[in-house]
């Protein structure tokens, strides 16, 4: 086996070695059990006192969501104005301008929503103040929002019947103090020791061998890159994201970043099992997600390592695989591994250009974001998966002759209605968004926007279709990666993706939390031989089938016109 593959296998194993105990630890932290980080309690108490939070106050699911949405709206308003007026605020050594309203709208929603779709470039589009106190700040709090929402869901199933789902603020603060902050510090240190800048100095300069003066952007990057991965945010400090040598200097940092972005999503699944005292369920869900990951990753690896058939036709050997758009220091295997991870979970950071990957790789990237529940984003991954679970429970419950129930609570019309709306939302946002952009591209090519629609696509045709589909899919999944090659900084894309990100973030949080809250309040029904068990291989298979079929049915025509058409045409 070649070293590239050994490298990614080692990375994956290391991920698990860290994620499993982390999951167990998180379950204890949120259950209020004793853990070794309890020395941080005084810090938390200080925060509660300062904010006037009474953590003993128990909230039901509606109060939880009210707290969540209120604080998020506050951040939206705050960030929006900083982005617009950043040129007038301190910590702007490079003198970058303030954002246009539409770009600020897009950017702030994108960061509040943990999406981090970037229609600006970090070097020229934002100030250090924005980077540190808006964007990086949001990378912490948006991840913590997702985790806290997931813990609310956990709470609903821990006790037999309950409406008391704990205190949102406590979950939120603990997510940061006990998880995000300590781990970010460790990761940031590793990065900065490997060459990632962490200073507040303005651009550096050097004169190249050719005699050109080259400006080198830098700034407080290491800390942001740490949380960007740990919190599955993905918003890079620099425009080229983790393909940039400062963001990701070498193979070691690449491994660290690949591990950092997936440990919390995995840990949350394990934590779910421990927290509700049904460990086997946690492991079963982990199993389904991991198989899903492999089913997306293995063909990706094979496509990228196999090289481009069009180049092969020319008789050019591609011993190193498809290298277009990839960094030599990572190679195609680590880039393929990254591209799968960053799309199954909602990080959306990249260490190579997705636009340049093989057509089928594009297909797997798109599918991963459409599913958005194999591990998924920080906290929200398990929320998304929960919706699939409810639908699987409903259909398979019927198939065994009982009115469906999940963990002892009957799933009835109201829950199904919510699950149905959330299931509907993704195809609606993705397909409608792509349809509107296709329509504008074909019919209003000359619209007078910053980038004219006819110039949007660097590669018209099937690949161009994929570029638009990808942008919209990434927004809905709160992924934030771009296929690139799309002229996206104009009012159309800023507003369209801004709206999609917003809806694609908050409705899929509200839905599962509401379902969990409703279920948790219902009478608990003990298990009998006739009860459908949700922690079996058979049920796991059922969930997997539901995920696959729902997504395949929703997106098959779109995928056929994009990556599939491109792939089959390339083979001809």
């Amino acid at each position: 086996m070649n070293t590239e593959l050994i490298g990614i296998i080692a990375t994956f194993l290391l991920t698990l070695i860290i994620a499993f105990p982390l999951g167990k630890y998180l379950a204890k932290v949120f259950a209020g059990e004793k853990v070794w980080t309890d020395f941080l309690k005084p810090l938390e108490k200080g925060i509660y006192k300062l904010s006037g939070i009474n953590v003993k106050e128990q909230m039901n699911w509606k109060e939880q969501l009210k707290a969540l949405l209120t604080i998020n709206i506050l951040w939206l308003v705050y960030g929006f104005f900083v982005l617009i007026f950043q040129n007038k605020l301190p910590l702007n050594p490079d003198g970058n301008p303030g954002m246009t309203a539409d770009l600020a709208f897009n950017t702030i929603i994108s960061f509040v929503a943990n999406c981090n779709l970037q229609h600006y470039s970090g070097e020229s589009g934002v100030s250090y103040l924005t980077q540190q106190f808006v964007l990086m700040f949001l990378q912490f709090v948006s991840a913590a929002t997702g985790i806290a929402a997931a813990v609310v869901l956990f709470k609903a199933f821990r006790d037999k019947t309950t409406t008391q789902l704990g205190n949102f603020w406590e979950f939120f603060v603990k997510s940061i103090t006990r998880l995000l902050l300590p781990l970010s510090i460790v990761i940031a240190l590793i990065l900065s020791f490997n060459g990632t800048p962490a200073s507040y100095d303005a651009k550096d300069q050097f004169i190249s061998v050719q005699g050109d003066t080259v400006n080198v952007s830098r700034g407080p990057a290491a800390q942001m890159i740490a949380i960007k991965h740990l919190g599955t945010n993905g918003g890079g400090y620099f425009g080229a994201n983790s393909a940039h040598p400062f963001e990701n200097p070498g193979y070691l940092t690449n491994m660290v970043e690949m591990i950092a972005q997936v440990i919390i999503p995995i840990a949350m699944v394990i934590a779910f099992g421990y927290f509700i005292r049904r460990r086997k369920l946690g492991w079963t869900i982990f199993g389904v997600m991991t198989i899903g990951l492999f089913m997306l990753m293995i063909p990706t690896l094979s496509a990228e390592l196999g090289g481009n058939p069009a180049i092969a036709k020319l008789g050019i050997s591609q011993a190193t695989g498809a290298m277009e758009g990839k960094e030599v220091r990572f190679g195609p295997a680590a880039t393929a591994y990254w591209s799968t991870l960053t799309t199954v979970i909602s990080t959306g950071s990249v260490n190579g250009m997705h636009d340049s990957t093989m057509p089928l790789t594009g297909l797997w990237q798109l599918l991963a974001m459409m599913i958005n529940g194999f591990y998924g984003g920080c906290g929200v991954g398990i929320l998304n998966y929960f919706i699939y679970l409810i639908i699987a429970v409903f259909i398979s419950g019927l198939m065994v002759g009982r009115t469906p129930e999940f963990l002892g609570h009957k799933v009835e019309a109201r829950e199904i209605k919510i699950a149905a709306i959330i299931t509907l939302l993704s195809p609606f946002l993705i397909l409608a968004g792509t349809a509107i952009s296709s329509y504008v591209f074909t019919n209003y090519g000359d619209a007078g926007w910053a980038v004219q629609p006819k110039n949007w696509l660097s590669n018209p045709g099937f690949h161009g279709f994929s570029e638009m589909l990808y942008e919209v899919t990434s927004s809905n999944a709160n992924n934030g990666s771009g296929f690139e090659g799309l002229g996206d900084n104009n009012i159309f894309w800023n507003v369209l993706t801004g709206i999609i990100i917003f809806l694609g973030r908050f409705l899929p949080i509200i839905g599962p939390v509401a379902i969990a809250g409703l279920l948790g309040a219902k009478k608990f029904i003990p298990e009998s031989a006739g009860t459908l068990k949700t922690d079996t291989k058979t049920f796991a298979l059922m969930t997997f089938a539901v995920i696959l079929v729902l997504n395949a049915l929703s997106y098959f025509p779109a995928l056929a016109l994009g990556p599939l058409a491109e792939y089959f045409t390339m083979l001809k």
Partner: protein
């Protein structure tokens, strides 16, 4: 009355007519999936007309053909519902025949009798029925006793006895008095008797969607919406790819994708579930009760009549040491000759079985009747034999009073019989104990297998009996029930139900007496026997016309079957879409993107044929599955996970594979003609 044929010609005819009547959009809108197909059909009708004079939408013939297939799809779905309704209605009609205008002899307050028509009877009226009269409506006997032929309702030809007071005072309209005279008070308002309610129910007038059906409809509606989005957005996608898509192709794709199979069969499945209950002679007051029955965790069953055959029977003779078995048997028989109780008769039966020749009552004998004081009975023969049979302590009294010793081996037998759940009867002759007769409850043959089946379904069975705990325990073990309530008083049942419900379990019970009514009302599924009191029938949510206590088991299975049928057909319907995509999507784009031919894995020969094959398959799968929807998917008590695996394999994998084969075959057929 019962017909097991699925498609009786007369019913099919009614159903065919109904299929067209149900095309009314106001009716269709209740079923969101099929309503969408109907809208698609109407659009295709316009497109057909348009394409006669315009080009660009394909040939008029082709459009007309698609229109026809879509119309058939809607008609097939309507037919499924109509045939289910027709079957239910046929059942109801045959019941209703018994209720046509019956004259009632109404007893007026002044004591005179007035003849009125049965539909003029009001609640509280009192009527008189004599031998040969048909009882005009449901009521409660307030005076008298009568034998009644209930065969019109239950199909059971043996007459039953109904009398005022107690638990057997209720009479049902349509049944016939065979002897004696009774005064009956009308217990229901006109049009609200059980039969009326049932007829209304099966006719669908008052049929409401059950909670689970509503939830499933929501899910199916959301799938439909997803496919509306998929199809609407396909138009701008295709424009981008410079591919013209005809309306026929878009609508075909849409109709094929939305879950028409389950959407078309859903209400038929629900009606058929109630119909199956009705065929088992159980009237369900709501479809929800049938659904709930499938979820039952605990089943309360009365011992007598359900688990054991009505009465105790003699099973063994145990003579004491020194008494020959023949002599003992002789004494036993003599003691029981005048004993009219089933126990007494069973002693003679047992003796006969063992080869004892009954020589009849010796002349000159005097029978000693059972009294509460002596607690024994027997006879004194002319030749001076004084034979007594009775409870252990009463006979011991007799024996010891006379100064005789009561043999210790008899005492031991008595003890061991009691611990084995039996009842010992001691027999003495001339104040000397001869031996013991063992009486045992006879457990119904096959009942323990049924309990085993229930256990596998996850249903806990509980025996309710008035016996002492020792006896109860023995019978419970022998019959294989999971738990028992001994020395049960009515409130014990109630408390047991409440306790189980507090644990979150669903409880079913069967009852007949007025004192069962609170428990029947408390239980999640309360099945009242038709012979029971009005109060019991009002309290329960099902009525069993056969008065068969084991019916609960069937009801649970019917409930499960109903849900399974829904689940499996939903799975099948959705799984079908995979193949339909592979038929239609390449067909849509093949002209402008030839490379997508690679997706045409079925090798369908032209785009038009591919689309037609898919819609035809989509349409004919509905009638093909009607029998399954009406009969229900078989329930196998093999545990939930195994059942899921099985159904997932058959209807999930089968649902993916079947349309690939079906569409390919239809394509080949079309290829022969076009």
């Amino acid at each position: 009355m019962k017909s097991n044929k699925l498609f009786e010609p007369a019913l099919v005819q009614t159903a065919l007519k109904q299929s067209f009547i149900k095309l009314d959009p106001r009716v269709m809108v209740r079923n969101p999936v099929m309503f969408n197909v109907e809208v698609g059909t109407i659009v295709m009708a316009y497109v057909t007309i348009y394409s006669f004079s315009h080009s660009g939408q394909g040939s008029a013939l082709y459009n007309f053909f698609i229109f026809l297939v879509l119309l058939l799809t809607v008609l097939f779905a309507n037919f499924a519902e109509a045939i289910a309704e027709a079957r239910g209605k046929a059942q109801a009609d045959s019941l209703r025949k018994t209720r046509e205008e019956t004259p009632a002899k109404v007893l007026l307050t002044n004591g005179t009798i007035e003849i009125r028509s049965s539909n003029q009877l009001k609640k509280g009226d009192i009527f008189v029925c004599e031998t040969g009269d048909t009882i005009p409506t449901d009521g409660e006997i307030i005076e008298g006793i009568a034998t009644i032929d209930e065969s019109a309702i239950t199909g059971e030809s043996a007459p039953v006895i109904r009398e005022s007071g107690g638990d057997k005072s209720s009479v049902t309209g349509g049944t016939k008095v065979l002897s004696d005279e009774i005064k009956v008070q009308v217990s229901t308002a006109p049009g609200e008797s059980f039969l009326d309610k049932m007829i209304a129910l099966v006719e669908g007038a008052s049929r409401q969607k059950t909670p689970n059906e509503i939830a499933l409809t929501i899910l199916l509606a959301s799938f439909t919406l997803v496919f509306i989005i998929v199809c609407v957005t396909l138009k701008p996608f295709a424009n981008y790819a410079n591919t013209p898509i005809t309306i026929a192709a878009l609508i075909s794709l849409f109709v094929c994708l939305i879950p028409t199979t389950i959407g078309g069969l859903l209400s038929a499945i629900g009606i058929a579930g109630m119909d199956r209950a009705l065929r088992a002679n159980v009237i369900t007051k709501s479809g929800k009760a049938v659904e709930t029955a499938g979820d039952i965790d605990v089943l309360l069953l009365d011992k007598t009549g359900t688990i054991t055959i009505g009465n105790r029977k003699a099973t063994n003779f145990y003579p004491t040491a020194g008494v020959v078995i023949k002599a003992f048997t002789d004494a036993c028989v003599l003691s029981s000759l005048a004993d009219e109780t089933p126990e007494g008769k069973s002693i003679i039966e047992l003796a006969n079985e063992q080869g004892f020749k009954n020589s009849g009552t010796p002349s000159g004998s005097t029978f000693i009747k059972f009294t509460a004081e002596t607690r024994s009975s027997g006879l004194d023969t002319a030749d001076g034999r004084r034979i007594r049979k009775g409870a252990f302590d009463s006979i011991r009294n007799i024996v010891e009073k006379a100064g005789n010793i009561f043999p210790s081996d008899i005492e031991e037998h008595v003890k061991s019989i009691a611990t084995n759940g039996g009842t010992p009867l001691v027999v003495s002759e001339n104040e000397k104990a001869l031996g013991v007769i063992e009486l045992q409850d006879i457990i119904k043959p096959g009942i323990s297998e049924r309990f085993e089946r229930l256990r596998k379904m996850g249903v806990k069975t509980v025996m309710v009996t008035g016996d002492n705990p020792l006896t109860a325990k023995y019978i419970a073990e022998k019959a294989g029930v999971d738990d028992f309530i001994a020395e049960a008083k009515p409130e014990d049942k109630m408390n047991y139900i409440k306790d189980e419900q507090a644990l979150g379990k669903l409880v079913a019970m069967m009852g007949d007496g007025t004192n069962d009514a609170p428990a029947l009302a408390q239980a999640d599924v309360g099945v009242a026997m038709n012979s029971g009191t009005q109060a019991a029938k009002e309290a329960g949510n099902m009525v069993d016309l056969d008065n068969d206590p084991t019916k609960l088991i069937e009801i649970v299975e019917i409930g499960k079957q109903l849900l399974i049928t829904r689940g499996t057909l939903t799975t099948f319907s959705i799984a079908n879409d995979v193949a339909k995509y592979f038929a239609i999507v390449p067909a849509l784009f093949i002209a402008s993107i030839p490379a997508l031919q690679s997706l045409n894995i079925m090798g369908l020969h032209t785009p038009e044929s591919a689309i037609m094959s898919a819609v035809i398959f989509n349409a004919i799968i509905i009638p093909i599955l009607i029998p399954l929807a009406l009969k229900g998917v078989a329930y196998k008590p093999i545990g939930a996970t195994a059942l899921l695996r099985r159904n997932l394999f058959i209807y999930g994998i089968g649902g993916v594979v079947a349309p690939f084969i079906g569409i390919k075959l239809i394509d080949l057929l079309i290829g022969l003609f076009v």
